[in-house]
């Protein structure tokens, strides 16, 4: 008898064909359109854009369709595509202070310039399955008000005027680029934020949650959460001035953390920051908590050994494309390694005087 090691190529082709058929599902059911995914599964699309590090709703929707709804697989498709794209240049920093907000809430002030705008949120819905949705039908139009032209200054800036919160001076140094240079430690805040914004949502949530439960306790309030569109500008060398090249939807969260002061810093509020593509509230809030926890050293706080305080731990394990790849690779053939372990274990057992039952039977 000889093992079937031949035929790997045909097996792969057949597996792919079967996969394509499974992806489509029952052909009596109409096929899902990319536009339907983009419009009706928008939060999935947002997550794929954030973790895939590429702002393109149609492409993210297509990736979700191709991956049968596996969002990590979809983000991976986006990353693998993204890496082949030429880099024309860098945009100017976006100004979230001028964001056209769909949603803007603060947990620290009852009212503030620009007001609280609830926006399209699940927050106060009762989580009752809506069986009416099972039947397809129209949705009544939501009431419309005229856009409020009042500026919506960022809450942290409002608190900052009193000197109550740590200063966040403008820094024009070019940040490191995680996608063009290997991740090396120590990582500065700009690099940490880059890694966090594309980290796995579940991982970031778990890390953030752990800080709330006492593993590296920070006491955050959502100073502000805002979601909306901002213009993306770019300086074009041929023109000599900046032009607007488009707009992106972002979720920005700034947490305000109580801080009693340390040897180096006076008592004041400190900040944690989160910024994510699309409407991704859970991710943005999580990110700002983890960002704050990772800042223990620069604020002169104690390292209590909490996982969320450990930059190397958080940054090395938050990327779900890396994590899922390494995790799942253990299903690849390991005959050779297993064989060498088998020989080693047999040898150790022999030396320990254990009689192999099979050899004894022979």
């Amino acid at each position: 008898m000889y093992v079937a090691t031949k035929g790997g190529e045909r097996a792969i082709d057949n597996a792919h064909a079967w996969l394509a058929e499974e992806r489509r599902g029952d052909t009596d059911i109409p096929e899902l359109g990319v536009a339907q995914i983009r419009e009706q599964l928008a939060l999935s699309v947002n997550r794929v854009m954030a973790e895939g590090s590429l702002y393109d709703r149609d492409l993210a929707a297509l990736a979700i369709k191709q991956s049968r709804g596996d969002l990590i697989e979809a983000a991976f498709l986006i990353r693998a595509y993204r890496t082949t794209l030429p880099r024309f240049g860098s945009s100017l920093p976006v100004d979230t202070g001028t964001m056209a907000c769909d949603r803007r809430i603060s947990a620290t002030f009852k009212d503030l310039p620009g007001g609280q705008v609830l926006g399209p949120t699940f927050d106060y819905t009762h989580r009752l399955i809506d069986f009416a949705l099972a039947a397809e039908g129209g949705v009544p139009d939501a009431p419309v008000a005229a856009p409020d032209p009042a500026p919506k200054p960022r809450v942290a800036d409002v608190i900052g005027r009193e000197g109550m919160i740590e200063d966040n001076p403008r820094d024009d140094t070019t940040p490191p680029d995680l996608t063009r240079a290997p991740l090396e430690f120590p990582a500065n805040r700009a690099l940490r934020l880059q890694a966090l914004t594309r980290s796995d949502e579940g991982f970031t949530l778990g890390m953030a949650y752990s800080t709330q439960r006492g593993y590296g306790r920070t006491h955050p309030f959502v100073g502000e959460l805002r979601i909306g569109r901002v213009a993306v500008g770019m300086e074009v060398p041929e023109l000599g001035f900046a032009i607007e090249i488009g707009e992106v939807e972002l979720t920005e969260c700034e947490t305000v953390n109580q801080f009693k002061g340390s040897k180096t810093e006076p008592a004041q509020f400190t900040r944690g920051y989160g910024l994510v593509f699309g409407q991704s509230e859970r991710k943005a809030i999580s990110m700002s908590l983890v960002d704050r926890a990772l800042r223990w050293a620069e604020l002169g706080e104690d390292n209590v050994g909490a996982p969320a305080q450990d930059t190397e731990f958080v940054l090395s394990h938050g990327d779900n494309i890396q994590a899922t790849g390494f995790l799942e690779h253990i299903k690849l053939p390991h005959y050779v390694d297993f064989q060498s372990e088998l020989e080693l274990v047999r040898k150790l057992r022999r030396e320990a005087g254990v009689v192999d039952t099979r050899e004894a039977a022979e």
């Binding site: 991976f76 082949t84 430690f185 053939p333 064989q339 060498s340 080693l344 030396e351």
Partner: protein, 278 residues
């Protein structure tokens, strides 16, 4: 695949990787950080090796890809197809005919020559990782040549088990300086690393590291005078070609304890067959 550059990666990326390779060759066994790219196969499937291969391939090359010593394991097939598609290079299963060989977990049995490059896929490039999880710490240990921890680990193995309990990815010392992880090859293959006429390149994509052994580098498997390194294999001969000194796979043939042993290097086994060795 005309939308992609030769061997998939763009020239800027290849240049970045080639620089890392040159540095790696200049400091044998030292892990050079490089800006690993996302590849169209998952991390853990050989993305480091694929990026290294893509960066050294020329249109005239003849590529061989093996996984577990075999050319026809699914991932070897998949990577070979990738380069057939993106680089249109000639491929072969013959070790002697290949100019570039990408491998996972084995070194071919047939001795390599000066005109060949062997590219290893590496999961965890850091030999000290399971002794010290922090990259910041292990880099410092390498810089100070502080390898006491590794020797203590090997010593503890002997004290506990009577032997060094590492069967694959057995650590080596390169050119008398850096301790290196030879990738998860069985320790049977370790002696082939040393004084090898071919260039040996190691790529770890997820961990963003490249390292190398220039031709004829001295590579020593760590051991103790009274517990010398031993390249072990199953004490059998290949059931197909009769070879008594090649590394063997154990094949379970039934559920009553029946098993047979076959060469893991399929090209080696077939070549011996053709020459009528068996």
């Amino acid at each position: 695949m005309t939308d992609y550059n030769f061997a998939y990666l763009d020239e800027q990326t290849k240049r970045m990787i080639r620089r890392a390779l040159l540095k790696a060759l200049a400091i044998p066994g030292y892990q050079v950080p490089f800006a690993s790219r996302e590849m169209p196969m998952p991390y853990g499937w050989g993305t480091g090796g694929v990026q290294v291969t893509a960066s050294v391939l020329t249109p005239e090359d003849r590529l061989k890809v093996i996984d577990q010593g075999a050319d026809d394991t699914t991932n070897a097939v998949s990577i070979r197809k990738f380069f057939e598609k993106t680089a249109q290079v000639a491929t072969t299963t013959r070790t002697t005919e290949a100019t570039v060989i990408q491998t996972r977990h084995r070194i071919p049995e047939t001795p390599l020559g000066e005109d060949q490059i062997l590219v290893y896929q590496v999961p965890i490039p850091e030999p000290l990782r399971f002794l010290e999880p922090r990259e910041t710490e292990t880099r410092r240990m390498h810089a100070l040549e502080e390898y006491g921890l590794m020797h203590v680990k090997l010593y503890e193995d002997i004290a506990r088990h009577g032997a060094i309990a590492t069967a694959y990815a057995y650590p080596v010392k390169v050119a008398g300086r850096y301790v290196m992880d030879p990738s998860p090859i069985p320790k049977f293959d370790n002696p082939k690393l040393s004084d090898c006429p071919a260039i040996q390149l190691f790529g770890a994509g997820r961990e963003q590291r490249i390292y190398a052994l220039p031709p004829y580098t001295d590579v020593v498997s760590l051991d103790f005078e009274d517990h010398p390194f031993e390249a072990s294999k199953a004490p059998h001969a290949c059931a197909l070609c009769g070879s008594g000194d090649s590394y063997l796979d154990e094949i379970v043939t039934d559920d009553a304890g029946g098993r047979m042993f076959l060469c893991s290097d399929t090209d080696y086994c077939e070549s011996r067959h053709e020459r009528g060795a068996a």
